[in-house]
Symmetry: C2
Subunit: 157 residues, 2 copies
């Protein structure tokens, strides 16, 4: 693996991840009604840091492979969406907007993973835990949104 | 040019640019003391939308060229930093933090431009206005920060 490439991608991931330190959950998030399976707060930074190492490793392996243009395009898309989610959810406290972003993130991560598998098996495998975690995060975003939204769209009202 | 590639990169740019619609300048920004050369508000979305078309076009030309791995790595880095700036400056109203992000953005855009020039001349040229605009934005961030920061770092005390 090209370690300089890895470090550029890791810096990219940490730029995205810095939103987690900048936009803290705080009292607002603590006051929300959450499902029983909500992971404790400390799990999130640990999970994300581990995932960012995997994501940067995957990208560093896939980028130099011939025919990686589409994979690198969807990689750029998913990292922009990853950067966007935290400011929308924790900054603006838009739970529906966060849902939109995380569904788009899930799709772009799934497509990037599929493209990575075609370029390099290990790169694809390194994206599997990322897709798993975004699935959990999306389910949590949805559960929190439905439990706390003052005007649910599908209200049985 | 591969138009599907262009559209994926354009979606990436629009994900970054959505922060401009989500985190509006508002009364806080209006109340700040600004330099005389500050562009009027309407210029920003027009400039950014034009730049995003150039950025997506540049990436769509550069990505398929052999040896584009470093360019696509720094491209991913600059789009993450581009997504990050608006929430930090307008969301958190951190003018010093915004300065840090925009200096990192400027460097990553400059490096991406240099790498694009090596892959495809037009791709490099399409990044020139982007670097120019980020230079203006960085100068504006600095000027606004120094004029309004309650505790400037280099205060003459």
């Amino acid at each position: 693996m090209d370690w300089i490439l890895f470090l550029i991608f890791l810096a990219t991931c940490l730029a995205a991840g810095s939103t987690g330190a900048l936009f803290q959950p705080g009292d607002w998030y603590r006051s929300l009604e959450k499902p029983r399976w909500t992971p404790p707060d400390w799990v999130f930074p640990v999970a994300w840091f581990t995932l960012y190492l995997c994501i940067a490793g995957a990208a560093a392996r896939a980028a130099p492979v011939e025919g990686s243009a589409y994979a690198m395009a969807t990689f750029a898309l998913q990292i922009a969406l990853n950067t966007l989610w935290t400011p929308v959810f924790f900054g603006l406290r838009k739970m529906g907007g966060g849902m939109l972003v995380i569904v788009a993130l899930w799709i772009s991560v799934a497509v990037t993973m599929a493209l990575f598998f075609q370029l390099d098996t290990l790169a694809g495998l390194l994206f599997v835990p990322y897709l798993g975690w975004v699935s959990i995060a999306a389910a949590l975003n949805y559960a929190v949104w439905r439990r706390n939204d003052p005007a649910p769209v599908a209200s049985s009202g």
